[in-house]
Subunit: 438 residues, 2 copies
């Protein structure tokens, strides 16, 4: 595929495009140079071009659109779903956003502007406004007629919000129930009246995880007066969850999340996403230099103590990182709540003790074989204490962060490691004074 592009082999490309589904084409477009991606887009017929285009991430969409002439530009942005368009514009510079909005029909522009009014990360941004609603007093047969009349433009017709005369949300009815029941059965009998709803201003990730837990294909989105605004559909919800997981994973390695495709994001942008935390962490690591300076007399007297510094701080860091990672994930999927802090700390403390004792045995053997028994005793005792300490720090910090309304995922493995390094050294040299009588 990349070869075809390099050779500018139009016939070969057309052949390739005809035999691959839009999502694979989109993946190739995201990986290709912008000029190549634009060529692929031009070679596709209009419908498939739109489907492939909608699969791209917003930064790639923006890059691609910027290189298009007006007619092709307008066709794409007019054809996009309103919620996809709002997400594209949410990340774009004002000038670009202006060009997009100017190219839209008044109807599409109004819908997009409404979605853009909701804050980033809110349910509103992901809402599909093109929804078929059903009045409560209809029969199943009449409701099916409503679907037939108005369903063509809707993003989904499988979940239909049921509303009263003021468009207030009463529950949902599924197309499945409408099709399977007798046509004269009242919709009121088919309504799921405890169907969950989300507010436009709610957190999109929470709403998406609720859909996952409740096995919903679409979640009704309402405004302050409980009037139906639209639906959050499962494909958007999956995208929200996956983006949140990707962000959490980036944060867990002390990087700031960025949106876009790994192969097309710039080197400086990658470096920038990682720089802030690395700077903070190296400054925090100065503490380890201070601690070691404080114990410099002991270090000079028993140089053998220095040999185990990387092993000890590494082991403590690993144990702390494991605890932090478990708790951050359990918080993300809703298995742990901030109120569980004492229960979690107690669990992790026992896990740390078990692991610490096991590792201390190994540490003792390594120390006794390579150096001396007294140093080995110091190292192994330090391992037990550091593992417990690291497990407690690693598990409690994400819960504290959550309580302070900080994303728990920022309690990354590198952060825990760095914090455990300095305190671990204090434990180590404190023990060395006791055991070795320094």
């Amino acid at each position: 595929m990349a070869d075809l592009l390099d050779d500018n082999d139009v016939a070969g490309l057309q052949q390739w495009l005809a035999t691959h589904p839009p999502y694979e084409i989109a993946d190739e477009m995201a990986r290709a140079e912008p000029v190549h991606a634009a060529l692929l887009l031009r070679l596709l017929d209009k419908d498939r071009a739109l489907v492939a285009f909608e699969e791209l991430d917003p930064p790639t969409q923006q890059k691609l659109l910027s290189g298009l002439r007006d007619q092709a530009f307008r066709d794409l942005v007019e054809g996009m779903d309103p919620d996809d368009r709002a997400r594209l514009l949410g990340e774009a510079p004002a000038k670009f956003a202006h060009r997009v909005l100017a190219g839209l029909s008044p109807y599409e522009r109004a819908m997009t502007a409404e979605l853009l009014g909701y804050p980033e990360g809110s349910v509103g941004r992901y809402t599909s406004p093109e929804t078929v609603t059903v009045r409560r007093h209809l029969t199943a047969g009449q409701a099916l007629e409503v679907v037939r009349a108005r369903g063509a433009a809707a993003e989904t017709v499988y979940t239909l919000p049921v509303v009263d005369d003021e468009r207030r949300f009463l529950g949902t009815v599924s197309l499945r129930d409408l099709v399977l029941s007798r046509p004269d059965r009242p919709v009121a009998e088919l309504v799921v009246d405890d169907a969950p709803r989300a507010h436009t201003m709610d957190d999109a990730e929470r709403a998406a995880r609720l859909m996952q837990e409740a096995n919903l294909l679409a979640l009704t989105v309402v405004d302050n007066e409980d009037r139906v605004v639209g639906l959050l559909t499962i494909d958007d919800a999956v995208e929200v969850i996956e983006a949140a997981d990707t962000e959490d994973i980036a944060r867990q390695s002390a990087a700031q999340p960025w949106s876009g495709h790994y192969m097309s994001v710039g080197v400086t942008q990658l470096a920038r996403s990682r720089a802030t935390w690395l700077l903070l962490l190296i400054v925090a690591a100065t503490l380890t230099v201070n601690v070691l300076q404080y114990f410099e007399a002991e270090l000079a007297e028993v140089t053998a103590l220095a040999l185990f510094i990387p092993l000890l701080v590494g082991t403590g860091g690993n144990a702390g990182a494991q605890a932090a990672t478990s708790v951050v994930r359990a918080l993300a999927v809703g298995e742990v709540r901030t109120g569980d802090v004492l229960r979690v700390a107690w669990r992790e403390c026992r896990v740390g003790l078990l692991l610490g004792v096991m590792l201390a045995v190994v540490g003792f053997v390594i120390g006794a074989v390579l150096v001396t028994v007294p140093v080995a005793v110091t190292v192994s005792l330090a391992i037990v204490l550091v593992c417990c300490w690291a497990a407690i720090i690693g598990s409690v910090m994400p819960l504290l962060a959550k309580r302070l309304h900080i994303d728990p995922a920022v309690i990354s493995a590198p952060l825990v490691t760095t914090l455990v390094d300095a305190t671990g050294l204090i434990i180590y040299f404190g023990l060395a004074r006791l055991v070795l009588g320094l």
Copy 2:
């Protein structure tokens, strides 16, 4: 809620259960003691009990079932979806599985046995066999009649596989298109004939990610002869993706994944999931002791060198962990392929250089202020080299793992950190010899 359980306040519990949705009830059951969870289940009416029960993870389901009497036990297992039941049995001991199978009706038993025949992690295990298929020669109206006649037992009726007379897969038709088109329109005109399919033996995670990319509500599952076996539905696909993400996240912190709820998994099981890697890593860390022993003369001559060991190896480890995490995630979501190894290494090498130069400046200042300029020069040069080296190691290793058919997620932050520790120390002391003339 926990208070109500502790007080055995049945009236209060019934009130609470009546006003909460099944997925919230399931969450409370997973967090509660088994005897409390069983009480909650008994207090629910049969239908809601089943829905809540199906939301639980297999280990909790098994614990709960084991405590039930025969009638309640049979009601629950008979009511479960066949694919959920297969997953429960896949993780359970033989004796328990036997009790479940013995309690089933012959029809349900046959379906479950078939799904259990597919290996764990395969698409087959997640397939819903209760599917409505449509013959190609029908009209839209006739196809709707088929849905009406046979749809009640099916897991979904929104995606309908279209088959020939030998039940071979030809494509799919959506209920939406059937409802929206004229009743006399032939199904053949509505078929999506390039609809993707998955084979029963395919990897479930890959199939689920394909559904996400292609925005499918259900993916047709076929056997070796291309005959329709059933559907992989989006709710199961989301579960598969989320479980895979949770596993990757655990592996990224050097822990083995376990299934179940964080708050109900045992302390020893948690410790066991983390022990193997910690042991391997502490043994690998012995290398750092060897390296330092080799440079013991230099350490004794300039003790100040020891002060920067944690800062240096920590910084290198952090940079390597960031690179590894980015690449592992990009591989998981399909943005990077094994063939990209040189491109990725070159990108990450430049990122590492940029970050290394920036951090070296900070390292120089810390060194010059706290110790001496020559030591500061050594430290800052080491930081540049270690950051580049760590970024290359961290990014290339996941790609190599993938090529060797090892899960790339095992290239965890702790593993990269440990490997970078030893090599980083060699770089550091090698530079010290040059710069300080030792």
